[in-house]
């Protein structure tokens, strides 16, 4: 029964899709989430609590004999908060601390869509000949095992090979 519950929870976890569009020394990362978002997250958004989804992206260089070398890490934080007085959702997207986009919307679905389909993130990619990999996941909030050990409520890590720039 426990295994079924775990499998069910895994099946219900949102899935992250990453689409990469390479450019010289740059990489456009389009992330999108599908599936049900965590109930606590949705409840908080509906009730006016500030919520966010952090899209963590890590760029690795593939090495044959050693572990993959991490070339860089980026965070795309998409925040949403509903004004409970006016019902307006305030939205923002920040890439590595810099505002990428912001906006307002009146509907919950629009707000959720905005969060699950944030603007494309343009990140720098070092010029290398080796194959590069982008690993990313979406993090929603922090849970605690045994009350004190923090763990992230997040999607699975998704790995994508960085295509060659045209």
């Amino acid at each position: 029964m426990l295994a079924c519950a775990v499998l069910l929870a895994a099946a219900m976890a949102p899935e992250l899709e990453i689409v990469l569009s390479p450019a010289p020394a740059r990489l456009a990362v389009q992330v999108s989430l599908s599936g049900e978002l965590p109930a606590e997250w949705m409840d908080g958004l509906s009730a006016g609590a500030p919520v966010s989804v952090t899209y963590r992206m890590r760029l690795f260089r593939n090495r044959r004999w050693l572990w993959d070398q991490r070339l860089g890490g980026h965070e795309l934080v998409v925040k949403a908060q509903r004004d409970p007085l006016t019902g307006v959702f305030t939205l923002s997207a920040e890439l590595d601390g810099e505002i990428l986009a912001s906006g307002q919307t009146d509907g919950l679905n629009e707000a959720v869509h905005w969060v699950t389909h944030p603007p494309s993130a343009d990140i720098r990619v070092p010029l290398r000949h080796e194959p590069l990999w982008l690993v990313g996941r979406a993090e929603f909030f922090t849970r605690y095992k045994l009350l004190v050990i923090p763990t992230k409520e997040a999607s699975e890590w998704v790995t994508r090979a960085v295509p060659e720039a045209p």
């Binding site: 009730a47 006016g48 409970p84 006016t86 307006v88």
Partner: protein, 702 residues
């Protein structure tokens, strides 16, 4: 400056570096974490929470690491010390374990209990009723807003419906004014091609009119939007007319209502935010409590180690000192100062050490004096242990026994026996208590007469040693022998002189008669010859007695029932002289004594002879045999004339007689036999009259 202050300063100096390193590391870690979080664009309030959380984790982890380090280090150290048998390790182990159990167990229980209480309290904050109330409040605020929006939309639709047939112109404006007044809107406007044409506003609610124009989408014919403005919420709805004009209706929510709505909505949102933050808050509280508990445990453990060190240090110093003293090192005081009961113990020990030092000094002085005395005296002294394995002596003993090693070291008795001192060794080993004896040893071709006294030390059941005193009697014996020979010569001369005079007189008389040619030669010569022969016979008898005394055979002792022997001898005197009774009193019974029965029979005969001879008619001679301690006593008492000499010991000299007849050798023989048996004999007055001979023989087991 007090002692505590000095200790604290020393402690601070010792630990300043470690504390500084720890604080610097904590600050660097906190700063690094803050910088890292800042780079990630965290808002300030979240940054504060994260930083607090990080610091709590830092303190908890470092305290756990320090505690584990101290535990492991001290456990390993104590185990090694116990394995090596270092003094005090067992005590410290027990003390540390006691502290750990006494402190860590309650702390762990309290931590678990606190965690449970915190979790329960946290759960009680977010109960279903509270959540329902919060959600209902939020929904109520939203419902009120939506109601206002619906009203505004309805008003805009109504106005649009009324204005649509009128076309553009003053009629439309007039109707608009009528409807504005009729519907009681706070704001009513009409825009054409995105530009406001008419704006009607309630003079009491100019806030609506001051809002920027709505950005009306082309595709949506109607809509509504709520906006915050000046502490209230303004709802603006629009309705597009068929000709493209747009009617805008605006209503401001009353301030009081808006405030209540805001509070409801804000509370609900805050509740949801807290609910999302609840695990973090619980974890933070638990980590805070855990840090406190770890601090308490750390302090308790440090205190336990400090106290165990404080308790054991003076005790260990005390034990180490006593061990050194027990191992034979010099007495020394314990240097560690202590102020409690242990201090009293250390003080008592130091006082005892001082007293022992003083006594030791006196003892050394006494021993030195004793050594000087023993080195100076001519009496040889041997000391032996309780088991009499070996003997050590003073220089006189070494000289007397011809064993120089005795003055330097302990010499085994077997070595002494092998060196020709077997008789002395037998005397020493055979002594059961105080024993005196005389013996002659032959060393280096010379004979040495020794008076030996073996003295036990301690009680009979718990002997602590033996002391043997050796008195060189060689010169004294020689002198006594010379004196005895002088006395013998004098007595012999006296005894010989007595018959010589009558012999000389008889010879001179016969010579005178011969010279004168006396006619009575036939009478004188035989008379003179008889006198000469008679006195020569007397001299012959004296010489025979002397010969008997000199040829007294060696003693051959064997177990003998002395009482029976005495009875036999007494029986021989039954009726030997009329009017004299000789009887025996036996108080010894069947006890056997080691003696030569023939020689003792001679002793008894001589003494009873004297007693019978000294008794007058009607007298009684009583021979008593009885035990007395370790001796057997034989008393021969008569009721005769008693002793008529001042010194009774003279009677034991050979050829000394008060009877005017006999050889005077009987009592000398008695004394010699008794002495050869290790006993004594003496003469003393009998009560009420007469004399009494007392013979004491060693009455040990046969």
């Amino acid at each position: 400056m007090t002692d505590w202050r000095r200790r604290w300063q020393r402690y601070r100096r010792q630990n300043r570096f470690l504390i500084s390193v720890y604080l610097v590391l904590a600050l660097l870690a906190a700063a690094g974490f803050a910088l890292f979080s800042r780079l990630r664009g965290l808002p300030s309030e979240e940054l504060t929470n994260r930083l607090l959380f990080f610091l709590l984790w830092w303190f908890d982890l470092t305290l756990i690491a320090v505690l584990l380090f101290i535990l492991v280090r001290n456990s390993v150290k104590l185990l090694l010390e116990r394995h090596q048998g270092i003094l005090g390790s067992r005590f410290r182990t027990k003390l540390l374990l006691s502290y750990l159990v006494l402190i860590l167990l309650p702390t762990a229980l309290l931590s678990v209990l606190a965690a449970a209480l915190l979790s329960q309290a946290s759960a009680s904050w977010f109960t279903a009723p509270v959540e329902e109330m919060s959600r209902t409040g939020t929904e109520l605020a939203a419902e009120v807003r939506e109601s206002t929006e619906r009203d505004a939309q309805r008003a805009a639709a109504t106005i649009a419906r009324e204005l649509a047939p009128l076309g553009s112109g003053e009629a439309r404006t007039a109707r608009l004014e009528q409807l504005h007044t009729l519907l009681g809107n706070d704001f009513t406007g009409l825009s054409v091609a995105g530009r406001p044409v008419v704006e009607l506003a309630d003079p009491r609610e100019r806030r609506v009119q001051r809002l920027p124009p709505l950005e009306l989408g082309q595709s949506r014919p109607t809509g509504v939007r709520s906006e915050r403005s000046g502490g209230t919420v303004i709802v603006r709805a629009w309705q597009r007319l068929p000709d493209g004009a747009v009617v805008v209706v605006g209503d401001a929510v009353p301030d009081r209502q808006a405030e209540l709505q805001r509070r409801l909505a804000t509370t609900g949102a805050e509740y949801e935010r807290l609910k999302l933050e609840r695990p973090t808050m619980t974890a933070t509280a638990l980590l805070s409590f855990g840090a406190l508990a770890l601090l308490v445990a750390f302090a308790a453990m440090w205190l336990g180690l400090y106290l165990s060190r404080t308790f054991t240090a003076p005790l260990l110093a005390l034990v180490a000192t006593t061990n050194r003293v027990a191992a034979g090192e010099t007495l020394e005081e314990v240097p560690i100062p202590a102020e409690d009961e242990v201090g009293l113990l250390v003080g008592s020990f130091n006082a005892m050490v001082r007293r022992l030092r003083s006594q030791e000094k006196e003892l050394r002085a006494t021993v030195g004096r004793l050594d000087a005395v023993l080195g100076a005296v001519r009496t040889g002294v041997l000391t032996l242990d309780a088991e009499r394995h070996g003997a050590q002596g003073n220089p006189a003993a070494a000289t007397l026994l011809g064993e120089p090693r005795l003055a330097v070291e302990s010499v085994p008795l077997d070595d002494l026996a092998a060196a020709g001192l077997g008789r002395l060794v037998d005397v020493i080993r055979g002594a059961r208590g105080l024993q005196r004896t005389s013996l002659t040893i032959h060393r280096g071709g010379t004979a040495r007469a020794l008076e030996v006294a073996v003295v036990p030390l301690g009680e009979e059941q718990r002997r602590t040693g033996w002391v043997v005193a050796l008195e060189d009697m060689t010169q004294l014996v020689r002198a006594q022998r010379q004196a005895a020979w002088s006395e013998v010569a004098r007595q012999i001369a006296h005894q010989i002189k007595n018959p010589l005079t009558p012999i000389r007189l008889a010879a001179e008389r016969m010579a005178r008669h011969v010279e004168r040619g006396s006619g009575d030669l036939a009478e004188v010569v035989p008379q003179g010859c008889r006198s000469i022969v008679e006195h020569v016979l007397s001299m012959q008898e004296m010489v025979d007695a002397f010969s008997r005394y000199a040829r007294l055979p060696a003693t051959s002792r064997r177990p003998t029932r002395l009482a029976e022997l005495v009875g036999q001898v007494v029986g021989l005197y039954d009726g030997v002289r009329p009017g004299i009774a000789v009887r025996c009193e036996d108080r010894l019974g069947e006890r056997e004594v080691l003696l030569d029965p023939e020689q003792i029979r001679q002793v008894l005969s001589n003494l009873i002879d004297n007693a019978v001879e000294a008794s007058s008619d009607g007298g009684e001679v009583v021979v008593t045999v009885r035990p007395e301690g370790a001796e057997v006593v034989v008393e021969i008492a008569d009721q005769g004339r008693g002793l008529d000499v001042v010194d009774p010991d003279l009677l034991f000299q050979p050829f000394y007689s008060t009877k005017g007849r006999g050889s005077g050798i009987g009592l000398a023989v008695v004394q010699r036999i008794v002495t050869d048996h290790g006993g004594t004999v003496r003469l003393e007055p009998n009560q009420p009259r007469g004399a009494r001979a007392v013979v004491r023989l060693p009455g040990g087991d046969a």
